[in-house]
């Protein structure tokens, strides 16, 4: 039972951390264009330095 004294505040702190991350994402516009950004990760990028790294 004593563990609750640590666990309950800890859960509140964790929620705060998760919230902080979410709020940052929302405020920086991460949820604005779900279609385009979802596809972006699938695109092959021709980074200037990527060719040197590949075999």
């Amino acid at each position: 039972m004593e563990s609750l004294i640590v666990l309950i505040p800890l859960s509140v702190v964790l929620v705060l951390v998760a919230l902080k991350a979410f709020l940052w994402a929302a405020k920086s516009g991460q949820f604005e264009d779900l279609d385009r950004e979802a596809a972006r990760i699938l695109e092959e990028d021709d980074f200037p330095d990527s060719s040197s790294g590949r075999p």
Binding site: L23, G29, D33, D35, R36, A39, D46
Partner: protein, 820 residues
């Protein structure tokens, strides 16, 4: 993907284009495909296979179509707005880098976005490019200044995207910011509510009965901290709204919401701090968090939908063309040097050149050339107006044919077009708004709630002072207006979705509620009731025996002009001509059986008067013209108009006609449609005044229009609907926009609005009924926090289900009106 890079690596001499994909064929490749009798190179076996597949499927026309496109691609020119002088107005320069925000047309999917990004990104000066698909915007940054813009614009055009500087960006940015904040609030409320729920459900289920008060206190503290987060981070809008409504002495739903939230939070916090909660006094942290979450979710859905269709505030900027050709010096039109400038830069005395299809940017006088002007969106006049040297022309008129050299009389920031936004703003202030249904109910509800709470408090104070606070709190929470407050956003959201199915967009959130109360429908004539393309009728026939329709049809055959298309629909067989030629700005000439025929302007045919004239002369040397026939445009009522008006009458609405066209014509149309009231010759201000007269007489007016000249009336009516989305200005001024030019949209919207009203009433009945049933429990001190939470959830659910049924109402109206 590697293609763009690959293209640059190959030297031009080696680059043989693949017949299928257009990419360079690698040196030494020998793969070819048989095209007609030749062998065309392809770059790889993949393209070879694709070529054969298309052939096998009979789809080889693809290449013909594609070739045309490739040809276009090669000669893509930079659009007129991209000249550095004009582009300078729209870009932001930060040191060495410049940034431009473009509205991109032709963007359909993620692949288009990718293409646009990569093609610009391939330019060496571009440092960053980002497409946002949802808003169809492209943001590009590059090293340099306005002088790079033509190249960027050309690149986009070559790919088939129509780009133009994004105007009225401030409103967009504001909405974006609002959207982000709403999302942040909703997310915060959701996460935190779940945490609070977790902590309190344990209590409801009596899992904590063997805990010592110290542990209980710990759990309560955790709940209190989380609830504070909700109050501070998410419930702000309710308190702001309540404060605003109190200051304006205009009671809205926000007041009881804020009161319930504030009291529940304050009292619960007090009970925790005083240690009473740990001893068993009920706290309502979970209820208030859930309450906030539900309401925020409802408002978020509504706001999302509204923002998606959101229009910008109508601004002068959007009325003007992006660029205009100005003549330098004093040389005659043909020899003078031309420059492309922004309309805002024009000064009185400047000479400008306006070709067919373009819009006149400012009030001006015709110097040379003659043309027909389209004014219907400006004045409501259906007939095109001819103009000749010396005539004054208004800003906003569209040149139908010919080419005009104009002398600017007033800068674009003054004159008839510039007056419209101001007039619209004035109209909006005077708009005959009605108080939303819920706000009217809110007053009664609020008073009722307060009285009950007060009575409960007094009763318990006399009987058992210890219980008083708890009982008052329970009353307020149980009677909290969650379901009632949720009713409106839920109904609006489903209502807007139902409208969208038939191509209607909601500009103002409360438009549907206002629409449900409408008593008089005022219709514009030109464009609203009539088709933009009229039909021709024969005014007068000469003594000759020829069939004028057959002659005209033969002369205009295959000519690409509205007139030609109208003749094409005539019920006659086209007579063959030996030879025909187009005379730009005048008409058509043709020879047949030794006679020369001309069809066009009266002066072109050696006649006086008006109308489209057909004349004949003997021999090849035309002189001595004889009149064959004279045609005139006749307005044509669109086919669905009668049905739509019938449906409106069946809905118990009265009709009136209000038009800028000549009174006799307006009255003729009104008579034909059985509309009792008709007003013609109405300028935009007159329309607004007429609307205001009706409003003052107690009518709730729905105005339906489509043109620029309707904008003030659209803004001033109780509620308004713009038909067709061509005029951005009218669109932005209206509460509802029908994308289709179909009058049945009006009875449809009214039908959905009435259903919404009914559902909303029923919803409120449910919500109030629930409160009436539950409040006695609270008054008696029997309500517990879990009962309050359960009741709130259930009543909200009932409200949502009711609202959902609006979708079905919309479908029913849709099939009833569009069944034929």
């Amino acid at each position: 993907m590697t293609s763009l890079v690959g293209t640059e690596r190959l030297s031009v001499a080696e680059a043989l284009a693949c017949y299928h994909c257009g990419l360079p064929v690698p040196p030494g490749s020998v793969i070819t495909v048989p095209v007609d009798d030749r062998a065309e190179p392809v770059c790889c076996h993949g393209c070879e296979a694709a070529y054969h597949w298309l052939q096998d499927q009979g789809l080889d026309r693809y290449y013909a179509l594609r070739q045309a496109r490739l040809g276009q691609r090669a000669e893509a020119t930079a659009p007129a707005w991209s000249t550095p002088e004009i582009a300078q107005r729209y870009l932001t320069q930060e040191g060495e880098e410049a940034e431009l925000l473009l509205a991109l047309g032709g963007l359909r999917c993620s692949a288009c976005a990718w293409l646009a990004e990569k093609s610009l990104g391939a330019l060496p000066e571009v440092t960053d490019v980002h497409v946002q698909l949802a808003s169809e915007r492209l943001r590009v940054r590059w090293r340099g200044d306005a002088s790079n813009v033509p190249r960027l614009a050309k690149q986009l055009r070559a790919l088939g995207f129509e780009a133009a500087p994004a105007r009225s960006e401030a409103a967009h940015a504001l909405r974006r910011e609002q959207g982000r904040r709403s999302l942040a609030r909703l997310g915060l409320a959701a996460v935190v509510t779940m945490q609070i729920m977790m902590l309190s459900v344990a209590d409801y289920l009596d899992l904590l009965s063997d805990l010592t008060p110290a542990y209980r206190q710990l759990l309560l503290w955790a709940q209190g901290v989380l609830a504070s987060l909700v109050m501070v981070g998410a419930a702000g809008p309710f308190f702001q709204g309540a404060w605003r409504s109190l200051r304006l002495r205009h009671l809205t739903m926000d007041v009881p919401v804020a009161l319930a939230l504030g009291l529940a939070y304050g009292a619960s916090l007090y009970l925790v701090l005083a240690g009473k909660a740990a001893a068993g006094a009920p706290v309502y942290f979970d209820s208030l968090a859930m309450f906030t979450l539900f309401l925020l979710a409802g408002r978020f859905a509504e706001e999302r939908l509204r923002h998606r269709f959101a229009q910008s505030d109508p601004a002068l900027e959007t009325l003007l063309p992006l660029s205009v050709e100005r003549l330098r010096g004093t040389a005659p039109t043909d020899t003078a040097e031309r420059e492309t400038v922004h309309p805002m830069d024009l000064l009185p005395g400047d000479r400008i050149l306006v070709p067919a299809g373009a819009t006149i940017p400012c009030e001006a006088v015709v110097l040379s050339g003659s043309a027909a002007l389209r004014l219907d969106h400006l004045t409501g006049e259906a007939a095109a107006k001819p103009c000749a040297p010396g005539d004054a022309v208004p800003a906003g008129a569209t040149v139908l044919d010919g080419m005009l050299t104009l002398s600017v009389r007033k800068p674009a920031s003054e004159g008839n077009l510039a007056a419209l936004p101001a007039l619209l703003a004035r109209a909006r202030e005077s708009q005959g708004k009605t108080l939303p249904l819920l706000d009217r109910i809110a007053r009664k509800f609020f008073a009722f709630q307060l009285l009950i709470a007060l009575g409960t408090g007094l009763f318990w104070w006399a009987v058992e002072p210890e219980q008083a606070l708890e009982a008052v709190l329970a009353t307020l929470i149980i009677a909290c207006p969650c379901a009632v407050s949720l009713a409106t956003p839920a109904a609006r959201t489903t209502g807007a979705l139902a409208l969208r199915k038939q191509g209607l967009r909601l500009g103002q959130g409360d438009a549907l509620e206002r629409l449900a109360q409408v008593s008089l429908v005022v219709l514009d004539k030109t464009g609203t009731l009539t088709a933009p393309e009229g039909q021709l009728h024969c005014l007068e026939r000469g003594p000759a025996a020829e069939d004028p329709w057959g002659l005209a049809k033969g002369l205009e055959e295959d000519v690409d002009h509205p007139l030609a298309r109208a003749f094409d629909q005539a019920d006659a067989s086209a007579l063959a001509f030996d030879e025909r030629r187009l005379v730009a700005g005048s008409g058509v000439e043709g020879t047949r059986e030794g006679h020369t025929y001309r069809l066009g302007r009266p002066s072109f045919c050696g006649q006086t008067g008006t109308g489209i004239t057909l004349a004949v002369a003997d021999g090849a040397q035309p002189s001595g013209w004889r009149l064959v026939a004279r045609f005139a445009w006749e307005e044509r009522l669109r086919s669905e108009v009668k049905d739509a008006l019938e449906a409106l009458r069946a809905q118990g609405l009265r009709l009136a006609l209000l038009s800028g066209d000549a009174t006799p014509r307006v009255e003729a149309v009104a008579k034909q449609l059985g509309i009792g009231q008709a007003l013609g010759d109405a300028a935009p201000e007159d329309k607004l005044r007429a609307i205001q007269r009706w409003t003052d007489a107690g009518e709730r007016v729905l105005y339906v229009g489509d043109g620029l000249n309707d904008a003030p009336a659209l803004g001033g009516a109780t509620v308004s609907l713009a038909l067709g989305a061509e005029s951005a200005f009218a669109r932005d001024a209206a509460d509802l926009v029908s994308v289709r030019r179909d009058l049945r949209a009006v009875p449809f919207a009214v039908g959905v609005a009435k259903c919404l009203q009914r559902r909303l009433r029923r919803n409120i009945f449910w919500a109030v009924g629930y409160n009436v049933a539950a409040v006695p429990l609270a008054v008696a001190g029997l309500a517990t926090p879990w009962l309050a939470a359960l009741g709130m959830t259930l009543s909200s659910l009932v409200v949502l289900v009711q609202a959902q049924r609006l979708a079905g109402d919309g479908d029913r109206w849709g099939t009833a009106l569009w069944k034929a």
